[in-house]
Each structure stands twice: as C-alpha cells, then as structure tokens.
C-alpha cells in the first residue's frame, strides 16, 4: 500500500525519484535482496541471512581476495566538503574505523564513518567520491552507515545532523539538525528508510539527556514524528516508573543502533539505551521506562504499541540497543511471529512480536551475577546489592556487556540464533553520593574475562546448541549466515572466519590487517557472489576464484 502511494506520488512528480543508474527501486527495501544490500541489515528483518549459495561449503576453501580498499578520513583533492565547523581538519589522530555495513546498490558501495561518507565501486574497490563534514563537536566513536532511497543517501554526524547526499555524485542535498551537541548528544545510527520515512536515532550519555527516535521526510528532511524514550511529564504512560519529572528529564534510553521492521504489522522495533545517571539509580527509583527496552512503534505515527524491558532500573550501562532480530517459526507447536535479542545485560530474549509477549528468557553467560532470577513476565530481577557502591561491587558482565552492537544473525535453515559473547567482569564504584547525582556518577574498573565465544542458540530454549570458544578474548564481532551453509564472523586476532553453522566447525579463514569492525555482508554482482567486510580503515571483498 505504501509503495503504491509512493509510486503515485512519484508519477505526479511529488517525489522526484532520480532515474539514473544508481537509483534504488524502493520496492527492494521490502524483500530480501540478493543483488543488493540496500539497508543496514541487508533487509528489514535484522537476520543478516542471505539466500545466496554460490559461495558454499564445497568451494569456500577457494574464497580469495578480490580487492581491498583503504580509506582516509582527511579531505583531499576532490573531496566534497560540508558541515558547520570551522576548518576542515582531520577529526582524529587515529585511522578511521569502519563500523558501517556498506549499502550496495547497482554495483556501488556506500558507507560512512564519523564525519565522512564514501562511494566505492563494488567490482574494483575504486573510490567514486568522498564527502567530508566539518564538525562542531560530539564524540566520534562510530557510525553505523547510511540509508538510501532512490538516488538519495542519508547519514548522521557526531554533531547530530541528518545529512542527505546525491548517491550518484556525493553532493549534499540538505542537512537538518536532530539534536544539540552542546547537551552531549552525538549520533551514531544508520538511518533506516521505511516507505516515506527516514528513521533516525541519537546517542549521548555524558550529561543525562533524554533519548528519542525520529522520522524525517526523505524529500525535505522535515520532521514527521518524534518518539521520546521517556514520559515527558507526570501522568504520561510510563511516568509511574520514575519518581518525578526531574528524573524523567535526565532520561537516557538512547537509540544508538538501527532497528528492524515488520511490513505486515507495520511496526518498527528498536532497543533503547540505559537510563541516566548511568551508574547510580538513587535519583530515579523505579523501572525507568522506556529505557533498556525493546519497543514496537507504529512506523507512520511513532506511537508506542508495546514494549518489553529487559533491564528494569539498569545501573550498569547495559543498553538494550542490540539488534532485535525478526523471524517466524514454530514455538511450542504453534506458528509465531517472533523477535529475538541477545542483550548486553547477558540475557537472550524471545518475544512474540505482534504483542511483546515474552516467550523465552535465558542467560547468555554462566558468570552472570547481577540478577536474582526472572519474573513471571520474563524480566530479570535485578539484585540491588550489585548496584555500584563506594567500596565497589564485582559484576559480570562488565558494562561493555555480554555482547554489544555488532550484529548477530538468525539462520532460518538451522533455526539457530548466532551471537558472539564475552564473559567479562568489572568492579563498579559509586563516585557521586549526592541524592541527585550527575553524569555517570560511578567509575568502573575492568577486571578480566573468561573469554569470547560464538554461540549458536536454539530460540525455543535459549540454550546454546554449540559454541566455539576463541583462544583469545576480544570484543564480540558481527555475524553473517548464508544458504551456502556458511557463517562468517571474526576473532580477536584479525581473522575473518567461515564456520559451519550446523556444528561450529571452522571451514576457512583469512588474516586481515585488523580485527573485523562491522557486520560482514554478501551480494551478487555480474553473476558473482561477493563477501565484503570491514576491518579497521579498510574494506575487503572476497569472491570464489574463477
């Protein structure tokens, strides 16, 4: 229906869809693509499963490097410069790290890092254009990539602008501010385009500000709707979980990571970040809705339809921002539309995505020590003795979590959910004893880790069917599965590894110059299947040698 309306609008000239070679057919966004990677997760489901089989178990040993492309985030000859800052200057003393999953449309890869966007030929790694945004500030920790609609690209900057570029040229169309950098907001997500909406979120937790999600008009950038992660005033839904308006306005619930979308239910799903102050709950008694929650919003209005809060009253910085993965299948003998999330707090949740009903809650780590069990709604029951104290409390997982933003994968052929986890420990110290603490209000000292594991989880039980323990610990990596019976992920030593998704057997590996830093992706181009992954400042493309 949405598509019809857009097509009519396009015919009437209301939406000037460009007709050049790079144009994305918006219909592609609603079905799993094989000859494109048109949105952050490849499709709206967040499964990161490809139906492509050209690269498969029988030939994966022949997977070889087609090209490598290294980026520099310093403006050079031909760089298109935009932005509000003073001088175009290198934004970092260290090389850029590509955390984006590049879009691939009509043979061109589009990706971004903080303040930078590029178009690169997927056949050769040749750079077509570089766009540089002069920043006015914000923490430059990462950027998940871009959204595309027709010939229009969208990405967010650390100083909280939504910038739209022409895909064919890299020229800026417009930019709109979505949050105030002076309040310590900084933006990391990849915009997700759904119908006539560009959905954007933001981050920032240094100065206790409330989070939100917004939809913008792809044509003009105008705001269409805004959903706040917290109630705005007493009496609003959820306000009963905060002591007062003061604490609500300290907020949190940042929308760091792109969400997923069910076109039939018309619901957009996203996990929200932690409440503020981050490591002290003293001024915010209660569950603090809708922080650390999976929320389902009507994509046309931004209205909340249901929520599930995995970390009520979080005090350990455990954002629930990890990808909510959508799949259908049998549960206790009945077909269900489900949503699964491996959460930073160390729990794996399966929900009925039509209404948020909890189906499974299971711990991801044996070391997890902050909860006293699970309540009748499937929510972990926090142990208040594991909230930060002046003398310190030993908690597993550490604030970085059992897992983090790198995308997991669901393989509908094995019916397994794959996620990399780390069994980490930290001591949490309370540093601000004021009744109204500010900022983090606590300090963390990392103690160590029992290691990093790739887990293959049966969604019906939440238990791992197999797991692979990496010999060295490392930050959990992104995952891709394919119908070629392959699972691609990385280790802490800079390897890209292909596993058998049925049993965890290693089938192939390649050593890269850095640890993989995004979720691997795959697509078909000129009849050849490409596997593309980022590691540090470089993209690597692999194909089967011919």
């Amino acid at each position: 229906m949405k598509m019809n309306r857009l097509l009519i609008a396009a015919c009437l000239g209301l939406l000037p869809l460009a007709l050049d070679a790079q144009m994305l057919d918006p219909a592609l966004l609603t079905r799993p693509a094989t000859d494109a990677w048109p949105t952050y997760n490849g499709d709206y489901s967040g499964r990161r499963f490809s139906t492509l089989t050209q690269i498969n178990q029988s030939n994966v040993k022949g997977l070889t490097l087609e090209w490598e492309h290294r980026v520099t985030d310093v403006p050079g000859d031909g760089t298109i410069v935009g932005g509000k800052g003073s001088d175009p200057a290198p934004n970092s003393s260290t090389p850029p790290e590509i955390k984006a999953t590049p879009l691939m449309v009509k043979g061109i890869l589009y990706f971004s890092t903080p303040d930078n966007a590029w178009a690169v030929d997927a056949r050769s790694g040749h750079q077509l254009w570089h766009y540089f945004w002069k920043t006015t500030g914000g923490i430059h920790i990462g950027n998940r990539g871009m959204g595309i609609y027709g010939n229009w690209l969208f990405f967010e900057t650390p100083d909280n602008y939504l910038v739209s570029l022409e895909a064919s040229t890299g020229k800026e169309r417009w930019h709109v501010q979505i949050a105030d950098v002076k309040q310590e907001y900084f933006s990391t997500p990849a915009p997700i385009v759904v119908g006539g909406h560009v959905i954007v979120g933001t981050g920032g937790d240094s100065l206790d500000v409330p989070g939100f999600l917004e939809a913008h008009d792809p044509e003009t950038g105008a705001l269409q709707w805004k959903w706040w992660s917290e109630p705005l005033k007493k009496g609003d839904a959820g306000s009963e979980t905060w002591p007062d308006e003061y604490s609500m306005r300290h907020g949190g619930g940042m929308t760091w990571i792109p969400g997923t979308y069910d076109p039939e239910l018309h619901l957009y799903y996203i996990g929200t970040g932690n409440p503020n102050p981050v490591e002290s709950g003293r001024s915010r008694e209660g569950a603090n809705l809708y922080t650390c929650s999976i929320v389902a919003l009507n994509v046309d209005t931004g209205k909340l339809v249901w929520y599930f809060q995995g970390s009520p009253h979080d005090t350990h910085d455990w954002d629930a921002a990890e990808t909510p993965v959508l799949f259908d299948g049998a549960f206790e003998g009945k077909p269900r539309k489900m949503l699964a999330q491996a959460e930073r707090n160390g729990y794996f949740f399966v929900l009925d995505r039509t209404n948020g009903e909890n189906l499974v809650t299971a711990p991801l780590l044996k070391t997890l020590n902050w909860s006293k069990g699970v309540n009748s709604q499937g929510q972990p029951i926090g142990n208040s003795e594991k909230e930060a104290t002046i003398s310190g409390v030993l908690v597993s997982p550490a604030s970085g979590g059992a897992t983090n933003w790198p995308p997991p994968s669901f393989d509908p052929e094995t019916n397994l959910f794959y996620v990399n986890t780390e069994a980490s420990f930290s001591v949490f110290y309370l540093t601000d004893t004021d009744p109204h603490p500010e900022g983090y209000a606590g300090a963390e000292r990392e103690i160590g880790s029992y290691g990093t594991e790739l887990q293959a989880i049966d969604y019906k039980t939440g238990k791992a069917v197999w797991s692979h323990r990496f010999p060295s610990s490392g930050f959990p990596k992104g995952i891709l599965t394919t119908a070629g019976h392959l699972l691609f992920t990385g280790d802490g030593s800079g390897h890209l590894i292909a596993f058998d998704p049925a049993n965890g057997k290693i089938l192939w590996h390649a050593g890269l110059a850095a640890e993989i830093s995004n979720g691997p992706e795959t697509f078909l181009l000129d009849g050849r299947q490409y596997l593309v992954v980022a590691a540090g400042d470089s993209l690597y493309a692999f194909t089967i040698s011919q």
Partner: protein, 265 residues
Amino acid sequence: MSHRRRTIGVAMALLAGATLPLIAQTPPGDPRPIERGQKTFVTTCSFCHGTRANGGQGGPDLLRSVLVLDDNHGDKIGPVILNGRPGAGMPKFSLAPSQISDIADFLHNSIHAAAERGGYQILNIVTGNAKAGQAYFDGAGKCATCHSVAGDLKGIGSKHDPAALQGMILMPRGDHRGQSARTGSTALTVTVTLASGRTFSGALEAIDDFSVALRDSKGEYHSFTRNGDVPAVEVNDPLKVHSDMLTRYTDADIHNLLAYLVTLK
C-alpha cells in the same frame, strides 16, 4: 554507545582539537575563579539551584541548562543574574562582572566534571573488616597457600592505593585481554606437542585458532600453524586460581581482604 572502548574514544577526542566537545572549551585552568565562583554561587544561588547547581527548591538544574551550555564567560548567564526571571520567580542579583564571570567558570567546570567520567575520583573504598579479611586470607580464601604477609605481600599496603590494590587482589595481571604481561611469574605459558612427539614450552606470545607462538626459556621465538587439534596445545595460566575466584568471592570477602591488606604497611 557505550561500549567498553568509549572511554578511549573520549580520550582520543580530547587529544584532537577538532572533535573537542564544546563543554570542554572552558577547561579547568586557574582554580581560583572556580573556587570564588563556587562560594558566590553557594551564598547567592544555591537556595534555589542546589549547592552543586544540579537543581533545588524550585530552581532548575543548571548543569543541563542550554543557556549555561551556550554561555561564554558569563555573556549569557550575566543578564539572567542581573535582570532575574520575574515570570519564573527568579529575583535579580546585583553582582559585579567579575563575580558573574567566576560563577560562569564554576558552572562550566561543574559540567565538565560531570561529563568527563575519566576524571571521577574513587572515594574511600576501605570499608571492610580487617579481622574478617585476615580470617579469609588464612582460611576460606586459601590465599596463604601461595602468599605470605611476611614475604611477597610484605608492605603491600603502602605500595599501592586501595583501588589499585583491590584490582590486584581480583586480577594481579590486570585485564586478561591482550595478554599484557608476557614475562614474569604470572605470564601465561604454553606447551606445544608436535605430531612427532617433540614438545616446545615457554611464555605464550600469541594464540588463535590458526597459530600459536611462544618464547622459550632461552628467549627464542617459536611459532606453529594449528590445524584443529594438531599440534596439541596446552595453555597454562599461573593465575587460574585468581580467575576462578571471580565467581566465588562475595563483595564482603573482597572488601574485608582489602581492609586486611592495607594494614600491611
């Protein structure tokens, strides 16, 4: 986001001028204006805004005020102080320009202190019971199996501050990640047994699913390709007991042990 590397990210951002968060544009420099500003603030403003400027009896939290965040040395704050906000119930105050500038410095410094968590000070963490700590050391904790307060731990309480000492109790090598300590008695060691039966042992240099490297007692480096279980690789962690304890300690055990060890001057 809030993942573990954010602190590093912030530190890096601070090194690079272009990405400096705006709040850091008034860095804490000369402490005197800040101290003067704090005094003036406490006597003049704290009744409504709280002694820490984070809100009080009817006055808003100034640490999150957009007007304060936009202010430069009092240029935005000054007019509000001098004119008041009659509609919002704020009276006017006749302060000198230097007093306004001092208050601005105090507010900007307070915002900086709240936002930059790298600078947070750990408070006095020695709250445990030293006697209970000693009993744990000699008894249930089995610390005395390897350690001696007259030997390796002699004077440990005067060598480290309490937070560092608490961290060392929990993991003497520091973070497992990165195998930081490759030498000394706490280094990870490895034994590699080839198909031929020949073995190599030494300090573990690097390991993953595809190779393993070690440095032997003569300082020579050896590396081996791994293919599944061949060659056989056995990693030994001399601090495994400490790792294993992480799931057994109560927080009281940790605090009592610390209270005991700080007495070993």
